[in-house]
Amino acid sequence: MGKPEPTGIKAWIFTTDHKKIAVLYLVTSLVFFVVGLLLAIIMRTKLLVPDREFLISNELYNVFFTIHGAAMVLFWMIPVLLGFFANYLIPLMIGAHDVAFPRVNALSYWMYVGACLIAVLGLVLPGRLDIGWTGYPPYSVTGPANTALYVFAVHLLGASSISGAVNFITTIITLRAPGMTWGRLNLTVWGIFGSFIIQLIGVPVLAAAVTLLLFDKYLGTHFYDTNGGNPLLYQHLFWFYAHPAVYVVALPVFGIVSDIVSTFARKRIFGYTSMVIAMMIITVLGFEVWVHHLYVAGTLNWSRIVFMWGTILIGVPTGIKVFNWLATLHKGSIDLKTPMLYALGFIALFTIGGITGIANGLVGFDIHVHDTHWVVAHFHYVLALSMSMLVLGGIYYWFPKMTGKMYDEKLGQLGFWLTLVGALIAFFPHFMMGVDGIPRRYAILPAEYTGMIRISSLFSYIAIAGFFITIWNYIKSARSGAPAPANPWNSLSLEWTIPSPPPFYNFEKIPVITSDPYEYGKPEGHGEEKGAVGGHAAHHH
């Protein structure tokens, strides 16, 4: 129905189809994931020898961790979740033909590509960005870095995020199929909804913060310098968005874990309502924590206490989610296919990162470990490794949906186990270095830690090898995988009720929804008093 589907290369460049835009996001963000991993390999290798000139100079080391951080957070994790997963899944999960504003959607993607190109320039042009992905003034203003590139990349990316947020919030509110009530949404949809609310509120503040940086550096204004300005102002503005950005990544991940666990345990997600409430609490509470990045920055003592309570209390809704996942596994029918392995691996790594994150949030504890390797270890467990792994698992889960082909299960499991073992051990020595108070972002570590860092680097190579095998599996299986059945996991979720890959306009006729996506093993007649008439939309086909 509708206009005919375009073909050829133009079909990709000029597309406004949410599924094609999603694939574009996926490919671009995976490229940046690989860039981030390659930079990690070089930095890890430099640290093997405690010598200032080994492999790369100190200056280049600083450039590399700047681009590594920016690539991983801004160009991989956020775009893959809010670009790829949101685009591909939202219309399919709510029963819509496309998003509310398909052309704005295409614009979002191309602005993201522009930001990517600027980031690459920041890596290769003279005046390379060595300011950390945080870009704190005065160093970013007085130092040699070409801060304009940083600012413009953030601007373009921000414009992309804001238009994406407007688009998807509108889509979720207005384009749900008849009968798709808020209580029947996949938790993935809820997670993405929360993320876009954070984007809409937070990104403009970040854009303002870096704009003032630009003015200070090139127009001689004094927002962040000592002639009437205040360097700490930038840190407040930056972290007002940049800490909630962690939850921008986390919320969709929580949703995807819930969907995968429910499907592969073939059991209703435990405590759906409490899952949704927990996500919304995190969305709101996420804005009450940012000063924990300024615990030792010379901020007012009482403000550190206030924001500590926000920070550590966020552990409560997060804990609720973990326990609900465990309860979902209880009495389930668990099938350990690759996506499920990734979901379970995520829970394991995330728990380690979460517990150590509570410690980090404790203001008295942090006064010794702030900006040490403890922090490096914590966020690599809680964010970098666990969530990257879950993203890879999510790609496996919907791989048959996107391509109509099955991925290679053996290769998938091999990649998973390499990454899990590597990830579990690689960052553990960093906790020990953190407790000893060794600062992060050091190109040369004290000689007595050489042994520890070598173990750490070795296992990081193993984890990265697993990542590469996984990416290779996607490429190989997309080209020559075995044909997949329409619903290989026997999922009850709406996106699996249409053919794979989905037709151009998704649904021939907008479905009428009569049940929710988690009703595995629901006894006949159960819940009918609530007005449900049994049978999922699936059965219309």
Partner: protein, 323 residues
Amino acid sequence: MYKKLLTTIIMLMALIVPATMVFGGERVADPAAGWDKHYHFFGVVGFLIFVIVFVPLLYFVFKYRRTSENHTGAYIEGNTGLEIMWTAIPVVIIVLLGVQTWALFNEYRSVPANAHEVKVEAYQYGFKMVSPEGIETDGEFTVPAGPVKLNMTSRDVIHDFAVPAFRVREDTVPGRWTYMWFNASKEGTYQVYCAELCGPGHSLMLAKLNVVSKAQYAKWVEENKMKAQTMTPVERGEKLAKQCIGCHSLDGSPAAGPTLKGLFNSDTKLADGSVVKTDVAFLKKKIKAPKNNLVDGYPPMMPPYSFTDDELNAVVEYIKSLK
């Protein structure tokens, strides 16, 4: 439902209030010792949470495996009692940890009245310290055993004064004064790190902290007062140039900037292609306004230094001496 909620709130209060008194009332004389205690307490709690998550995770995965293609899990929508339990218990744990850390934090931020007060000025890439007697030292500090308070600022960008041995750190911010204190309980030499990214020399921005007895400290003060009066310009320049050696080597080895060895009166190619003699006039110009005199092959990263004329002469004399 309301009854359950009410019971939970009452139970929470019953647990939290006494715990607050136990943990909040405790005073520690030394934040470093308090930190270690706090860390051990957290270690036990953290390990317990870890076990509570991992044991069921592994057990369920092994126990509830899919037995046949059509096998399905039990149909359970949720359980309000359980939800309340795993909301309330974490709240109690969080409040316990929070109250304990709050008390510790108060110790960290309340400076004892008898603290030995010194001034620290951080710069790219080093720390300058001024003792209460007015003695300036660079890169190596001497303090008497007992509580020490640091009033800190920065000359250029944000740095951080971290002393892991005493479990404490605080940023130094240009244009602002920040403070921290620690109890230098044991004599010895301790490592100081910069813990805030400040440029290519960040990982070289180190210092030593010597904690000595009160008698030794008095001796150190006397010696240094004498030295300040009898110092030659080269010696004075050497002291001032401590802040240069993060980027400039003294032995000819390569670094972020050109080596200072043999620099004086050599021919140097500038970024605009011209070649200049690095005489006294050029060195002074370069130190005051580095960006106007960029040297070929090096990034424009040197910050300007605002030495007095005397200090500038001393630094140049010192560079002259490095043959």
